[in-house]
C-alpha cells in the first residue's frame, strides 16, 4: 500500500499510467485501453484484470473519493456491466492527482485509503465520511491530547455512499476487533399508505438483484399447504414490485396484496437479502490509534496543507449519486 495516500500499489500504478499519458483532471481523457497497456508495461498486470480495478476507481457509487474520472459507460449499480475498455475513456480525478502528488512527495500525505476503505473489494476496512476523517486528523494535529472517545465520535460510523443505515457493534469495530456490520435500506410506508418505498439499499449488491429477490419472495410456494407457518415467514404478500429508479436515484415500490397493510410487511421486507446485508470488518488497529499514528508518522510535513488540498479536490468533484 502506498504509505502516503493509503491506496493500493496497483491503483497507484493506474494513476501513474494516466499521468504518463497526460490524462490529468483538466486535460482530455485517454482511451482506457491505452491506460491498461501502460499498466501492463509497468507491472505486468493484464488488461482484463486491471480494467476491473480501473472501473472501481472511476465509479462514483463505489468509492467516496473516486481516483479516476471515467467518460463513457462505466456500468450501473444494477447488473449492467461497463463497456469494454476499447470504448471508454479515463483521466485522473482531482482526488487522483492529490493521491499521486502525495505518493511522489510533492504534497504531504493524505488519508485517501482511510476514507475509501476496501470493503468494495471484499476487504475488511470500511469507508468513512471524508469530512469527518479530515476533521479528526485536524483535531489530533491541533490538540494532540484529544481523547480516543472524542476521536471516535468525530469520525462516526462507517459511511457508505448509498446512504444505507449502519448498525452492529461499532464500538468493537472502532477498537480494532473483528465484527460484522449490518447495512440496511430505508423501508417506509408511502404517503398514500398503500405502498412501501425502498431506498438507500446497501452497496456491493446489485439493485436489479434486490428487485428480483423481492419479486421472487412474492411468489407462491408449492409446499405452502403443507407448511403454512413457514410460508408466512418465507412469502411476502405483495401484489406488485416496481423499479422506480431515475438517474442514479434508486427507488423501489412494493404494493401489498389487498387486505394487507404496509406495516405488516415492512419488517419482513427489511430482512430480504439485499435490502439488508452483513459486511465483515476488521481495522488494522483501533480507529483512534490509526488516526494518531498517521499524524505521528508524518508530523514533520505540512499535513494541514495537504488536508486543505484534499478538501478542495473533494469540493471540486461532482457529488456522487447513490
Amino acid at each position: 500500500v502506498g504509505e502516503r495516500s493509503g491506496i493500493g500499489l496497483v491503483e497507484l500504478s493506474m494513476l501513474e499510467a494516466l499521468d504518463s499519458l497526460g490524462a490529468r483532471a483538466d486535460r482530455r481523457p485517454r482511451r482506457s485501453v491505452r491506460v491498461l497497456q501502460a499498466v501492463d508495461t509497468q507491472i505486468g498486470l493484464a488488461p482484463g484484470y486491471a480494467y476491473q480495478l480501473l472501473v472501481d476507481l472511476a465509479q462514483p457509487w463505489t468509492l467516496a473519493l473516486p481516483l479516476v474520472d471515467g467518460v463513457g459507460n462505466f456500468g450501473s449499480r444494477g447488473n449492467d456491466p461497463p463497456a469494454n475498455y476499447r470504448y471508454t475513456d479515463t483521466r485522473l480525478s482531482r482526488a487522483g492527482e492529490v493521491a499521486l502528488a502525495a505518493e511522489r512527495g510533492t504534497l504531504a500525505p493524505v488519508p485517501i485509503g482511510l476514507i475509501n476503505g476496501n470493503t468494495h473489494r471484499e476487504g475488511l476496512r470500511p469507508p468513512f465520511a471524508p469530512d469527518r476523517v479530515i476533521k479528526a486528523l485536524r483535531q489530533v494535529i491541533r490538540h494532540p491530547r484529544v481523547s480516543d472517545g472524542e476521536l471516535t465520535e468525530i469520525i462516526g460510523p462507517p459511511d457508505f455512499l448509498t446512504g444505507c443505515a449502519v448498525t452492529g457493534d461499532l464500538a468493537a469495530m472502532a477498537a480494532g476487533q473483528a465484527t460484522d456490520l449490518v447495512l440496511y435500506a430505508s423501508v417506509t410506508a408511502g404517503e398514500d399508505g398503500r405502498q412501501i418505498i425502498i431506498e438507500n439499499t446497501p452497496p456491493y449488491f446489485s439493485t436489479d438483484d434486490v428487485v428480483c429477490g423481492i419479486a421472487q419472495r412474492a411468489r407462491d410456494h408449492h409446499w405452502a399447504r403443507n407448511h403454512p407457518e413457514l410460508s408466512t415467514h418465507a412469502r411476502l404478500p405483495l401484489a406488485d414490485v416496481r423499479d422506480a429508479s431515475k438517474r442514479g436515484n434508486y427507488r423501489f415500490v412494493c404494493v401489498p396484496e389487498p387486505g394487507t397493510g404496509p406495516d405488516e410487511i415492512i419488517e419482513q421486507l427489511r430482512l430480504v437479502y439485499g435490502v439488508q446485508t452483513r459486511v465483515p470488518v476488521l481495522l488494522p488497529k483501533p480507529l483512534p490509534r490509526m488516526i494518531r499514528s498517521w499524524v505521528r508518522a508524518f508530523r514533520d510535513e505540512d499535513l494541514l496543507g495537504s488536508l486543505a488540498t484534499l478538501e478542495e479536490a473533494i469540493a471540486g468533484q461532482a457529488v456522487p449519486s447513490q
Binding site: D180, D209, C212, G213, I214, Q216, R217, R219, H221, W223, N226, H227, P228, E229, L230, T232, H233, A234, V272, Y273, G274, R278, P280
Partner: protein, 128 residues
C-alpha cells in the same frame, strides 16, 4: 436459516452445518450465510437444483444437477441470503454426519442440523 427450511420443505435432503447450525444449537454467533451438506444421489441433486432455481437471484447461473454430481461446492445468492451447498462433503461424509444430526423445527419445517461436535470439527478442518 429460512433458506434451509425452504429447501427442506422442497424435499431436498440436506444437513445444516456452519454458523447457522451453531445458532440453531443456541450458540450466540452471527450468521452471515448458510452452509448445507447435500446428500449425494441423482434424484436429490435434481430436487436441490429445482429448489435452488426457485429461490436463486440468478437461476440461469446455476449448474445442472448432473454437474452437481462432481462439483465440490455451489454457492448461490438467494433472497434469503447466501447458500453454500457443500457437495463434496456430502459425498465424503453424509452417513457419518447424518447419523449424529438432529431435526430442529424452523417454523413448521424440520431442518436436519449436524451435531455441535461435528460442526466444530468441520470448522476446524476447514480452517486448517
Amino acid at each position: 436459516v429460512l433458506a434451509a427450511a425452504v429447501l427442506a420443505a422442497d424435499d431436498v435432503s440436506c444437513l445444516l452445518v456452519g454458523s447457522a447450525a451453531l445458532w440453531l444449537h443456541g450458540e450466540p454467533v452471527g450468521v452471515s450465510d448458510v452452509d448445507l451438506v447435500i446428500e449425494p444421489g441423482g434424484a436429490n441433486l435434481q430436487r436441490l437444483r429445482d429448489g435452488l432455481a426457485r429461490i436463486a437471484l440468478r437461476p440461469r447461473a446455476l449448474p445442472s444437477a448432473r454437474s452437481m454430481g462432481w462439483l465440490p461446492m455451489v454457492a448461490v445468492m438467494t433472497s434469503y441470503g447466501k447458500v453454500d451447498c457443500l457437495l463434496e462433503r456430502g459425498r465424503l461424509g453424509w452417513e457419518q454426519l447424518s447419523q449424529h444430526a438432529t431435526t430442529i423445527r424452523v417454523a413448521d419445517s424440520g431442518v436436519l442440523v449436524a451435531s455441535q461436535g461435528n460442526v466444530l470439527a468441520l470448522r476446524r478442518r476447514f480452517k486448517e
